[in-house]
Amino acid sequence: MDKGVRTAYILLIIGLMLVIVSAISFYFFSSERFAYTVVSYAIFGGGFGLLGDGIGRLNAARLEKKDPERMKIINIEKNDERNIAINEKAGSKSFTFSQYLFTAVIVVLAILRVELRTLLILLSTDLIILVYSLCIRLKLYKEM
């Protein structure tokens, strides 16, 4: 079996299992604690995401067999250097914008006297993103 098709089937199976697990946990445990409901929804979301990815990959593999010429065009569009450059630039600009947005949200929430725990969660999320960005930067400094 082709490596891509195998990955697609693995994703499909894991996704399906997660959806089933989330349905079972929602049915049996959601009434016990609100946190269980949230976890069930999160698993459900993740499961459906993997299912979608698997279906997409299977479709791509099928298309590659059925219509290789069209698949070649799709791959060209995907790997086109201008498209990649545009995506990277858009990602970089949206990252900068998200930092401004994060700061604004934290300030607004602080003014609204929101619970300290909520603020700390937001702050630590932003900090993790910044540390991750720094790690990527250091890695790229070494590689390039």
Partner: protein, 65 residues
């Protein structure tokens, strides 16, 4: 950076789509290159020059800003 891609392509009677397929880039990239809106990577620049059978400096004209 200016280039002679459009001129060379038209001389040879090649469509943008055909050039794009040969270079494995999108048609929009060829359009942007011809209009001077996008500067190619060094790899693509070599690929383009090779495709036309010319030296890189015969296709791309470097201009100091």
């Amino acid at each position: 950076m200016k280039n002679r891609i459009e001129e060379l392509r038209k001389e040879r009677g090649i469509k943008q789509e055909e050039l794009a397929m040969a270079l494995e880039v999108s048609r929009q990239t060829i359009g942007s290159l011809e209009n001077g809106r996008y500067n190619p990577s060094i790899q693509l620049a070599f690929k383009i020059s090779k495709y036309f059978g010319l030296k890189i400096e015969d296709v791309f004209i470097y201009e100091e800003e």
